[in-house]
Amino acid sequence: MAAIPGGADHAHDHDHHQPTGIMRWVTTTNHKDIGSMYLWFSFAMFLVGGVMALVIRAELFEPGLQVVDPDRFNQMTTLHGLIMVFGAIMPAFVGFANWMIPLMIGASDMAFARMNNWSFWLLPPAAILLTSSLLVPGGAAASGWTLYPPLTVQMGIGMDMAIFAVHILGISSIMGSINIVTTLLNMRAPGMTLMKMPLFCWTWLITAYLVIAVMPVLAGAVTMILTDRHFGTSFFNAAGGGDPVLYQHIFWFFGHPEVYIIAIPAFGVVSQVIPAFSRKPLFGYASMVYATSSIAILSFIVWAHHMYTVGMPVAGQLYFMFATMLIAIPTGVKVFNWVATMWRGSLSFETPMLFSIGFLFLFTLGGFSGLVLSMTAVDIQLHDSYYVVAHFHYVMVAGALFSAYAGAYYWLPKWTGHMYDEKLGKLHFWLSIVFFNMTFFVQHFLGLAGMPRRIPDYSLQFAEFNMISSIGAFGFGLSQLVFLVVVLKCIKGGEKASAKPWDGAEGLEWTVPSPAPHHTFETPPVFK
């Protein structure tokens, strides 16, 4: 199996010939090791992207220019977006997938263990490319994370570094997704049909298909920018017969499914946690599967609602408006199912459940502001305003991030073998939810009053809400360090966790001891 010197000829007891130290992590093909590395990497990138967000909020604390010059400010908004989307949220859920999918379906490992190692180790070079582009002449890409031409065709070498980073991140996530699809389709324990898979596995199966379908389209779009910049093509250069609006169509053909690539695994985690702490099976399992699939399919035909202001024919605007509103139906099915799962359940409010309920409230709120934005007539007023910023932070932070925290607290005992500090966990939740709303709720008002996004300065009438938002942002940023403390404490020690520390939890992952041994399910369990 493993082509490690000294280990190749003793395939049976390769446990004892593992390299130690750093090389253990560089050469590992174990899904649990790789899952842990994904999770640590995404948390590190979350802190990097978070510091960038704090630079933005520090600049916006008061009107006028105080902290960074406008060019750096634009670089901060761009890198914050790219790092949080591709470096923090996506790898976090790939980390969950790596750790939990084989345990949930009773497989010994991911289908392609060597490729799994590659998928992870492509991430650090991409992260280095992105962050070090701040140091090159001209600075990092400053076009916003959507990388719209003509700006992206004009910028310096930092832009090329961002393009290569997006290429590498794309290849990594495609390889990760191929691995997940193959594992889920071919390696389930005997007796586990597709409709008996835990919902987290279903959401990842759908997400992985989305990644395989749209990440190559993004790779194509940034490749077109690259050839426009250096090889004389004119895909987006109007002077050469190209069209910058074409880029927006291609980008959002990727970009809208990307929103669900981030959201759907979050739905999966919450669908595991809420039944466990309601001590009831998930309400409407089959409808959850169909609703998730419908969301994924609809995500391909609504992209132009991100670009109502480019000058679309009215018929186009109407089509994209109604198609977008259609997505509220399967999403509503999911929300009602989660609520129905809790209905008359025997609820208890440990940290994972708190984060899931926080997710449920705030994600729904973000969904409603999304519904407001789907209306063309309204969107033309709110386009590129802080209302949009508030909307997508409600679905990305309170949606995806809170769900990731719910999952982390839920499975930490399985990963470490210790119970985490419940008091600190609850503190983390309450600090997060208060400061999150302080940061982002007021941004709705700023947007409605007309404050544009991605501008380092603003008119005086926006001063109070911006100050509140900035204080909230620093509070939110610092509260995330509580999570780091909880995880480190939990790794070092704490109350011993049993194989199944949550009495309401269901699934094969709770049949293996805690911490999960390095090798599990070498002979597949029989699933009833």
């Binding site: 191929i178 071919n186 749209v214 190559p216 993004l218 169509h249």
Partner: protein, 197 residues
């Protein structure tokens, strides 16, 4: 129960075929991104949107013209110690407030050398001045005429629709003054243009 070795080979084969199908899908989607380029162009062409080559023959419509009123504009030309001939091509005309009108003046240099002049406009009644808007005028810059040169120069203007009701006639009068020394300077500029002066 199958032994791991046997299970491994069967599942390995299935995994490999899934892998191949998924990799092919990824490459096809990469191609699809590029296929969107001609697809977009074709779609724009069929729907006749976003056509940059389409000629727009409709003149911009001026909706600000007040056709219920007419104002007579008279054109006058004077020379101040300048050996030129200077006269309007049209002596006077009737315009509607808000309407953009272009007229011409003709000037000729009777001297045997180049002369530079500057025209200064004045209005009668002087209250009309703020309502008389010139978009283009030879008076915006100095005019240098070579020996014996004849030139026609346009004036594009409109009379604002907020012109007071009691003004029915406006006289626009230009006086050309010689700009002393400017001709030599202009000639010097022209002569040394090649050396980047």
């Amino acid at each position: 129960m199958t032994s791991p070795e046997q299970g491994g080979t069967v599942s390995d084969r299935r995994n490999r075929s899934t892998l191949v199908r998924l990799i092919v899908s990824a490459f096809l989607m990469f191609g699809f991104g590029y296929a969107l380029v001609p697809f977009y162009e074709k779609l724009c062409q069929v729907l006749d949107v976003n056509n940059l080559n389409k000629q727009d023959n409709s003149l911009p419509l001026n909706t600000q013209v007040d056709r219920s009123r007419s104002v007579t504009v008279e054109f006058d030309a004077n020379l101040h110690k300048l050996p030129w001939n200077f006269k309007p091509v049209t002596g006077s005309m009737v315009v509607h407030p808000g309407e953009v009108v272009t007229i011409e003046y003709e000037v000729s240099n009777t001297r045997q050398s180049a002369v530079t002049g500057q025209a200064i406009p004045s209005y009668t009644p002087s209250a009309a001045m703020q309502y008389f808007q010139k978009m283009e005028c030879f008076c915006f810059k100095q005019q240098t005429l070579a020996a014996g040169e004849v030139r026609r120069m346009p004036v594009a203007f409109l009379v604002s629709s907020s012109l007071p009701k009691d003004i029915n006639t406006i006289t626009l009068s230009y006086t050309f003054f010689e700009v002393p020394g400017a001709t030599a300077e202009a000639a010097g500029r022209d002569g040394s243009a090649g050396t980047g002066g």
